[in-house]
């Protein structure tokens, strides 16, 4: 066990942290430190026990112990925290040399130490540091031995021999230091170059790496571009298809448009023909009807000689029937024009008071025939301008008052005018039979007549329809304001006051409509 430890210790050695694990070097260092320990302890004990030199003996033992501690602490325990560890060791080994040179050791073996010391130091400190250490010790020794013959120091060996040896050592150390320094510098330069080379190599490999990455990226991008290109090509093809389709659609649409235009032209022609037909038909119808009526009237009036009593009633019936027929044809003509959008409106600013007065004046004789009052009090007593087609408004008023006269047996008809929200409102109120709630809205339809008792002259059933259409075209409206069976009724129609926005809008709409029917003079 012990043998193995020492063999192991001496051959493989225990190196200091940072030392290269050089077996030979470590073996030398350790062997000489053990030799140093043995030598120092032996000399120290000899000096103390033999009472030759007590102080020298104590110092020798002290250095021996230091060397032991050194070995234990540095070599065995590997404690790297001790500063100047190798320096302490060098001094510990170097000191016995000086001592041996003076004392000669045991029977002159001290000179052996003089050869082993530099080797140990060189091994321990390396060539350069070792050379410095050896030189320092040599110089120290030379200083100590200057004039030693006459001084207190006495050398065991011959003064000259030792001095020659020391000089030789100093020179060898100097030479070693010199070459070592050069080689160190060289190696530093080489190291630097190597380092530079490594750095350059690193940079190059980094560059190569980044180049490689860039290339890879480029490849990825290229493939992506290829993909995108093919996608784009596909899209382009799709777009071209769509464009083709669109062109086809466009052509189809154009054809359709042309067809529609032709159809429209035909329709317009037909419409015109219809309009002309209605105009001519009504004219042609009215001419003989008017003639029949005129003949009947003249016979009744006695223009052709005395009429016997029994013929008067049938002649009157002929006249009345013909009159109704004329009214019906007139109304049908109006309806046809309204529905074709060809009724012309000549909108002017007119005084509603004057218009009403004209109509009521012309109808007063008719009211008197039935013993009815027909009253109108001018609104505000001054002209109130509203936008209207005077003839159409007169037609509406005649229709409303005519209806009231027809369905009123006692009392009378009153007209009232008021302004409401930029509109003129005209009320026609009678004390007639009134209208049932369920019939009120129906009355404005075509061919609708109130279902009332009594013997009354039949109308065409178109009057209120025509009135409503005309009033609405002029921007107003017509409605039944109030009506109750047996309590009379009030019809109200409105017209826009002059220069209000409503009036302007209506005028624009009317003129626009006229533009769309340019064939209508």
């Amino acid at each position: 066990m012990m043998n193995r430890f020492w063999r192991n210790y001496i051959t493989s050695g225990i190196s200091l942290p940072g030392e290269s694990p050089d077996v030979v070097r470590v073996a030398f260092i350790n062997s000489f430190s053990i030799l140093g320990i043995v030598t120092l302890l032996t000399f120290g004990l000899t000096n103390i026990v033999g009472e030759q030199n007590f102080v020298t003996g104590l110092v020798e033992i002290g250095f021996g112990v230091l060397l032991i501690l050194n070995l234990i602490v540095l070599r065995v325990m590997k404690l790297s925290w001790i500063p100047f560890a190798s320096e302490i060791m060098t001094i510990s080994i170097g000191f016995p040399l000086v001592v041996l040179l003076f004392t000669g050791g045991i029977e002159g073996t001290g000179i052996f130490w003089a050869f082993t010391f530099p080797v140990t130091v060189f091994l321990l400190e390396g060539k350069k540091k070792g050379a410095i250490w050896v030189s320092i010790l040599c110089v120290l020794f030379l200083i100590l031995t200057v004039g030693s013959h006459s001084g207190s120091f006495h050398l065991y060996y011959s003064d000259t021999e030792v001095r020659q040896l020391i000089f030789a050592l100093l020179i060898v150390s100097g030479v070693i230091y010199f070459f070592e320094n050069i080689s160190e510098k060289k190696s530093i330069i080489i190291e630097k170059q190597q380092k530079n080379l490594i750095e350059i190599n690193d940079l190059l490999s980094q560059k190569a790496e980044s180049d490689r990455l860039a290339k890879e990226e480029l490849e990825v991008k290229t493939s992506r571009l290829h993909e995108q290109t093919s996608t784009l090509k596909e899209s382009q093809a799709a777009i071209l298809n769509v464009v083709e389709d669109l062109d086809e659609e466009k052509a189809k649409l154009k054809q359709k448009e042309q067809e529609l235009e032709e159809a429209n032209t035909k329709l317009l022609e037909l419409d015109k023909l219809k309009d002309e037909f209605v105009s001519i038909a009504s004219h042609e119808l009215r001419t003989p009807m008017g003639a029949i009526r005129a003949f009947a009237s003249m016979i009744l009036a006695g223009d052709y000689g005395k009429v016997s009593e029994n013929l008067k009633e049938p002649l009157t019936d002929i006249k009345t029937s013909t009159e109704r027929l004329v009214l019906l044809v007139n109304d049908l003509l109006s309806v046809a024009r309204i529905e074709a959008g060809r009724m012309k409106f000549n909108l002017v600013d007119s005084d509603i008071n004057t218009v009403i007065k004209n109509v009521t004046d012309s109808l007063v004789p008719l009211a008197k025939q039935k013993n009815l009052d027909l009253g109108f009090k001018m609104y505000e007593g001054k002209p109130i301008l509203a936008q209207m087609d005077v003839d159409k408004v007169k037609q509406v008023l005649t229709n409303l008052i005519g209806n009231s006269l027809k369905f009123t047996d006692k009392g009378g008809i009153t007209l009232n005018v008021q302004e409401v929200d930029g509109m003129i409102e005209v009320d026609v109120t009678d004390t007639g039979v009134g209208i049932a709630k369920e019939d009120q809205e129906k009355l404005f339809g075509k061919f609708q007549q109130a279902n009332v008792s009594g013997d009354r002259p039949a109308g065409t059933g178109l009057g209120l329809y025509i009135s409503r259409e005309m009033i609405r075209k002029m921007g107003g409206d017509i409605r039944i304001k109030s009506a109750e069976i047996g309590k009379g009724s009030t019809f109200t129609f409105s017209l826009p006051l002059s220069d209000c926005s409503e009036a302007k809008a209506v005028k624009e709409a009317i003129s626009k409509e006229a533009e769309t029917h340019p064939d209508q003079k």
Partner: protein, 122 residues
Amino acid sequence: MHKILIVEDDEFYRKIYKKKFEVAGFEVDVAVNGEEGIAKMKSFMPDLVFMDLMMPKMDGFTAIDTAKADSTIKDIPIVVLTNLSTSDDAEKVKGSGAVDVIVKSNVDPQEVVDKAKEILQK
């Protein structure tokens, strides 16, 4: 005795108005179209003319224009007596120089006579 000229292409209306005005005590002459109407206005020299609009050869509008352009007859008042086919014709009549317009089918012949008397009194 006032002289009345009836310019009318319809045979029955000519008969009606001729009879009515004669009964009412007027001297009456008739023409069947605008052209004849103008000639009769010059030869007969009526106090008042009743003029139809839709007539063959020369229509009422042309006849009125012709009459108004002729200094010998331009002062004879003309009343349009028609069955208007469209409301636009009414507008046209207003600007034609006629003193009034009567829709034949809407009035009694007596009203036409009354209208003539009213105009001639002025």
